[in-house]
Every structure is written in structure tokens, then in C-alpha cells.
């Protein structure tokens, strides 16, 4: 029942998402627990508040899920690999501040000009910054063998510190750009809608689909599951373990940067403290979604469900007016329950097969 047993029974099985076929009702509930939890949450809150189960509220909650969902999708890749990325909340904040900084214009002292990059360039550069932080994390972990927990804890502080340095603790408020400079449109990300659905949600759908395809349809995905399940075995069978490791941290950093762009666009401001402790929410979403923190087990679909569980729960608690102390207690209880079920699934049921 403990993590130790789950580790022992862990096999370097590359395709964990698929194996089913057991007509066990308990197994079914376990497999779909995030889904059932979500249904239960929606049912309970619809009953408690007439305002909960409305189209506009679902769109709002989806939009709120976009931020945590993007972080969680990046996080699940890292966790599948047997690592952890504590820096995503700080990278989210840094990315927002960096985008805000670029929108204010970059003064090149030696050339005596101020550059106003167009919005697409701001987006590309910001995602590049996220990838760079991820690359540093990956190199520290894969090449220099710094434990993932420590390396990303370090970047958590460094990224937050750099964000504070860039703004001197203040907030960039003017992200609208101006038509003369040709850099308008940043708010499009956070405010506009396609087919009635906020852009942030579309971005989450796109990123999650790409991540899902990457995991299930490519060699890289199989390498990722393999090296997460048993790195040594994967290495011996020819998987480029180090390259996979560095890549997942880069992808996680990029997801965090995208989340930072969406958030600062939604809030029309970029503050250095944005995303404080969001890495914990992202890890919680991944765990609720059924992934194992030991690596090798988990899916993007489950992670998205986990994110919805957490966001729909907290939105429901706010809408029904439950006191903020209880909100914290409930969120904690859901996370602990999820981890407990994980141990049962990976320990108890693992012995059977």
C-alpha cells in the first residue's frame, strides 16, 4: 500500500494508459475517479446554487482552468519522467513580467533606439525564455546530476528574483501597446473569444492535444514512459535518457511561459508575484489526475480532469459562499484522497496482475 511497494511492483511498461479489460467495478471507479469526482462536484454545486450550472459560469471556470491546466500539462510530462518541476509558478510570473517588459519597448543603448517588438515576437521570445529556464533545469538534472527537487527549487527562487529585479517589485500595467508602434493585440489572448469560448481555453485544448499526441503517438512519448518507469533499463535498451530528460523540462518551462502570457493578458497586467505557489496546484492537479509521483504512470487526459476537479471545486465553494477556511480544507482533502487512491491502485492492484 505504500510508495515502496508501488515502486517494487513498478514495471518499465511503456503503455500504461491502455491496459484494461478487467471487468472489475472497483478498478473502473479507480480508473475514472477524477471523472466521477468531477461529475459529483458539478452535481453537488448545481444543487446548491442556481448560478453554478450555467453556460457562462462553465466558460468562466474553463478559463480559470486554462492557467493551471497549462502548468499541469507541462508538469505531467516531467512527473512521467520521474522528476518534478517546482519552478513553474515562478516561470509563469517571470514570463508575464518579461512580456510586459518587451511591450514597454526595449531600449538599445548602443544603437540609441527603442525597439517595440510586435506581439507575435513578444510571444515567441517569452516562450523561448520559458524554454531556456527549462533547459537550464534539464541540464542541471541530466548532466550535473542535481536532484530535480533541488535544481528546480533553485530556479523557483532565481526566476522569482529576476522577475522582481526587472520590475523593482512593481507591476506592468500598460500592456495594450499602441497602433503607431504596431504592437497592439496582446489583450486578445485573454479577452477575446472564438466561437464563444475564451482564447485561453483554446490554447489549453491545443497544448493538451499536442502533449497527448506526443505521449501516445511518437517515439519520444514511449521513451518518456520508459525512462520514467525505469531509467536504467531504458538507457540500456537504447533510449536517449538524458535528451528526453532535458526536453521534458524545456516543454514544462514553455507551458509555464504560455500560462504566464495568458494570465497577464487576462489580468491586463504583469506583476512579479503572479503564480506564487502555483507549482503546488499544478502538482496537485497531476496527482488527482492519477499520475504517480514515482514516474512512468499518468496521462494528459487524467491531468486535465484533475485540473477541472480542483478549479471547479474551488469555484463552486466560492459561489456557494463557503468560508475561505473550509475551502482550503476541502482542497487539501481532495489531494490527500487522490494520493491515497493512487497508492491503492499502484500498490494493491499492481500485485494482482
Amino acid at each position: 500500500m505504500t510508495d515502496e511497494t508501488s515502486k517494487m511492483t513498478d514495471t518499465p511498461n511503456a503503455s500504461q494508459a491502455k491496459p484494461k479489460g478487467a471487468f472489475d467495478i472497483g478498478h473502473l471507479i479507480l480508473e475514472g475517479r477524477a471523472f466521477f469526482a468531477l461529475i459529483a462536484i458539478i452535481a453537488v454545486f448545481s444543487f446548491l446554487s442556481p448560478n453554478y450550472a450555467t453556460v457562462s459560469n462553465f466558460l468562466i471556470m474553463m478559463n480559470q482552468s486554462a492557467i493551471f491546466g497549462l502548468l499541469a500539462v507541462g508538469m505531467v510530462l516531467v512527473i512521467l519522467n520521474g522528476g518534478i518541476d517546482l519552478s513553474v509558478g515562478s516561470v509563469l510570473g517571470l514570463a508575464g513580467v518579461f512580456a510586459g517588459f518587451l511591450m514597454q519597448g526595449v531600449e538599445l543603448q548602443w544603437a540609441g533606439v527603442i525597439l517595440y517588438p510586435p506581439v507575435w515576437a513578444v510571444v515567441v521570445l517569452t516562450i523561448g525564455l520559458g524554454a531556456f529556464v527549462g533547459y537550464v533545469n534539464g541540464v542541471l538534472i541530466a548532466i550535473f546530476k542535481v536532484p530535480a527537487f533541488v535544481a528546480t527549487l533553485g530556479s523557483l527562487y532565481v526566476a522569482r528574483g529576476v522577475a522582481l529585479l526587472m520590475t523593482n517589485g512593481l507591476t506592468f500595467n500598460n500592456l495594450d501597446g499602441s497602433p503607431e508602434l504596431g504592437n497592439t493585440g496582446f489583450n486578445w489572448l485573454g479577452f477575446n473569444r472564438l466561437a464563444g469560448v475564451p482564447i485561453g481555453v483554446w490554447i489549453l485544448i491545443t497544448v493538451a492535444t499536442l502533449a497527448g499526441l506526443l505521449l501516445t503517438r511518437t517515439a519520444f512519448g514511449r521513451w518518456l514512459y520508459a525512462s520514467g518507469g525505469n531509467a536504467r533499463a531504458a538507457d540500456l535498451s537504447g533510449v536517449p535518457v538524458k535528451r528526453v530528460q532535458i526536453t521534458v523540462y524545456m516543454l514544462s518551462g514553455m507551458c509555464a511561459a504560455i500560462a504566464g502570457l495568458v494570465l497577464s493578458s487576462q489580468l491586463t497586467s504583469a506583476g512579479p508575484n503572479a503564480g506564487f505557489t502555483y507549482e503546488l496546484t499544478a502538482i496537485a492537479a497531476v496527482v488527482v489526475g492519477g499520475a504517480s509521483l514515482m514516474g512512468g504512470r499518468g496521462t494528459v487526459r487524467g491531468t486535465l480532469l484533475g485540473t477541472f476537479v480542483i478549479v471547479f471545486l474551488s469555484a463552486g465553494l466560492v459561489i456557494t459562499g463557503v468560508s475561505f477556511y473550509w475551502q482550503t480544507v476541502f482542497t487539501g482533502a481532495v489531494i490527500v484522497l487522490a494520493v491515497m487512491l493512487n497508492s491503492i491502485q499502484y500498490g494493491g492492484l499492481g500485485k494482482r496482475s
Binding site: 472489475d24 467495478i25 472497483g26 471507479i29 479507480l30 475517479r33 459529483a40 453537488v44 446548491l48 446554487s49 448560478n51 453554478y52 450555467t54 457562462s56 459560469n57 468562466i60 480559470q64 492557467i67 523593482n168 517589485g169 512593481l170 507591476t171 506592468f172 500595467n173 494570465l263 487576462q266 489580468l267 491586463t268 497586467s269 506583476g271 508575484n273 503572479a274 503564480g275 506564487f276 474551488s314 469555484a315 465553494l317 466560492v318 459561489i319 456557494t320 459562499g321 463557503v322 468560508s323 475561505f324 473550509w326 476541502f330 482533502a333 484522497l337 491515497m340 487512491l341 491503492i344
Partner: protein
């Protein structure tokens, strides 16, 4: 497997029971409609009082109200405003998380047709919120500095504790102190430290100051927490005797310190006054469609708490009589 499903059922049951248990006040909506009160962090008695007073006033005026907390996170703040819009709130009482970062959410609520009243902190844009009700920090700082100088006299070496530099109030209070104190050439500032409004940092910084600066006879602090940290450090080193310490905020802990003779005075921020006033103005706006006070930015004067009137401190942040 049965064990497992039972566990799940148990938790769902507990969750439902607890949810319904804390529901009644939200469900029993009174006629006036729903007012959403959003404060910073109720773990701090200052914000706790702010939220509770606003909620009590709203219920007294026939509204239903809930207090929620953003803890300084503009994203959480945005989500809470979304929830208020979803719940068809008739007004929002908001302590903004960030002078710049909260402009967007205030605009969002206003666009959704909900009047917003800001309390305690300002946003750097006017014309969106119906009212911004804050303490008069400049007046409070001058009030504190004058009281401090009267106790300390014209000749002294003193230490100043400075709040979080990102918060405008830190500079406002420090400027207020120094405007008054610079008129007395005999008052010499031997150390100035940033302690970010925090008690632990005030404690650590004071320990360092005592190592570096052997002599000082007064401390003036940007808030109570830093002052209390400094007092704890001096007490431990046996150097509190004869040192005058002044704070700012009027927190219950500071009042206890005044009663114990450890702190000379504190400046009370009238949080209970302006959060009540914000709800009253919201009520007026809901009923008449126009602002009760035409000026958006309204300053509320601070009061001095000294050993003489400390008995009038009847509840947290409330000075009666």
C-alpha cells in the same frame, strides 16, 4: 473494493454535509441581494476585521454577504470577481491586491454592471470604481511622529523601520515621519532598515542593529508588526528599558504591548470605520443609482492610541468614545 468505495462514499458524504452546514447564510438570501466582500488575508486581524465589519453592516442593511480572500494574488482576485458576477452580486467591496494589477478586475466588474467600492488600498486609476475609501496615511504618520517627538524630546538617537518598498504606504509613512522629525536637528537617525511589515524581520533586523549601533533611545516603525519584532529583540537583549517605541496600525497585539508599557503609542487605522462606510455607500448607490459621496478617493483620518485612551479600545481596530 467494498472498503474502497465506502471510503469514497464517506468522503463525499462528509464534503456534502460540511458544505450544506456552512451554506445557510448564503442560501437564506435576504431581500436586498448579494454583496461580495473580498479582502486580502483574514489570517491577519486587520483584514479579518475589515471583512467581518463589512459583512455585518451588509447584513444589517438587509443584504446577504460573504467574505472571501485573495491573499494578494491578482489571479485569485480575478476568479473571486468572476464568482461575484456569476452570483449576480449587487455590489463588490474589494481590498485590491495590487495598485496596478487590480485595475483590470475592477473594470471587469464595472463592465458587468456591478458597482465596486475599494477599501484600504487604492488602484492607480480613477473613474472605474465608485469609491476608494482608505486611511489617511500621511495624516496618521504626522500624528504618530508628533506624539513620538513629544515623548522622546529634542535630543535623541533613533532607529526607523521601513515597510515593504513596493507598497506606497511604506514611503508615505516614512515621509510623514521624516517631515516632522527633520525639524528637530537634535534627532539623529542612526539606522534605517527595511523589514517588509514583518515581525520576524523586525526581530532579526533589530538584533543586527544592536550589534552595530550600541546606542539609541527610540524606535519609530512603519507598522506594529515590525515594532513588536524590534521590542522582542530588545527585550531578549535586556535593552528595552528607556527605549521609546512607536508603531502604526492599531493591532490588538500592539494594544497589549501599550498596556504592558512596552510600546509608547500606535496609530489606529480606522479600518472598521471605512469598511462600514463602504457598505453604507454601496447601499445608497444600489437604491439611488448615484454615488453618495461625489469624490471617489476618500481619506479617513487615523487616531492615536496611547496609554491614556487604551481602555477605549473595545474591539479589534475599534476605538470607542
Amino acid at each position: 473494493m467494498i472498503k474502497l468505495t465506502r471510503r469514497q462514499a464517506l468522503l463525499t458524504g462528509v464534503a456534502t454535509a460540511a458544505t450544506t452546514a456552512s451554506m445557510p447564510f448564503a442560501a437564506s438570501a435576504q431581500d436586498g441581494g448579494f454583496i461580495s466582500v473580498i479582502v486580502n488575508d483574514p489570517a491577519n486581524p486587520y483584514w479579518f476585521t475589515e471583512g467581518e465589519v463589512a459583512k455585518a453592516t451588509a447584513e444589517e442593511l438587509g443584504y446577504s454577504a460573504t467574505v472571501s480572500a485573495h491573499r494578494g494574488d491578482t489571479n485569485v482576485e480575478s476568479n473571486l470577481v468572476d464568482a461575484a458576477i456569476t452570483n449576480n452580486a449587487v455590489a463588490i467591496i474589494l481590498d485590491p491586491a495590487n495598485a496596478d494589477g487590480s485595475v483590470g478586475v475592477v473594470r471587469k466588474a464595472t463592465d458587468a454592471g456591478i458597482p465596486v467600492f475599494l477599501v484600504n488600498a487604492e488602484i492607480n486609476e480613477s473613474g472605474i470604481a465608485i469609491g476608494q475609501l482608505v486611511s489617511n496615511n500621511a495624516q496618521g504618520a504626522a500624528l504618530g511622529a508628533i506624539a513620538w517627538q513629544e515623548i522622546v524630546g529634542e535630543e535623541a538617537k533613533f532607529v526607523e523601520f521601513y515597510g515593504n518598498p513596493a507598497d506606497n504606504n511604506a514611503a508615505t509613512r516614512s515621509n510623514g515621519y521624516n517631515t516632522v522629525l527633520s525639524q528637530y536637528p537634535g534627532l539623529e537617525k542612526v539606522a534605517e532598515e527595511v523589514a517588509n511589515w514583518d515581525r520576524t524581520q523586525g526581530y532579526n533586523k533589530m538584533q543586527s542593529i544592536m550589534q552595530a549601533t550600541p546606542e539609541f533611545d527610540a524606535v519609530i516603525s512603519g507598522n506594529d508588526e515590525m515594532a513588536l519584532g524590534a521590542i522582542a529583540a530588545m527585550k531578549e537583549a535586556g535593552r528595552l528599558d528607556g527605549v521609546t517605541v512607536g508603531g502604526f496600525d492599531g493591532s490588538p497585539d500592539a494594544v497589549e504591548a501599550i498596556k504592558a508599557g512596552e510600546m509608547a503609542y500606535t496609530v489606529l487605522q480606522p479600518v472598521a470605520v471605512f469598511s462600514r462606510e463602504a457598505v453604507i455607500q454601496a447601499d445608497h448607490y444600489i437604491k439611488n443609482g448615484s454615488a453618495m459621496v461625489s469624490e471617489e478617493k476618500q481619506l479617513f483620518d487615523c487616531l492615536l492610541i496611547t496609554p491614556d485612551n487604551v481602555g477605549n479600545y473595545t474591539a479589534a481596530f475599534t476605538l470607542s468614545g
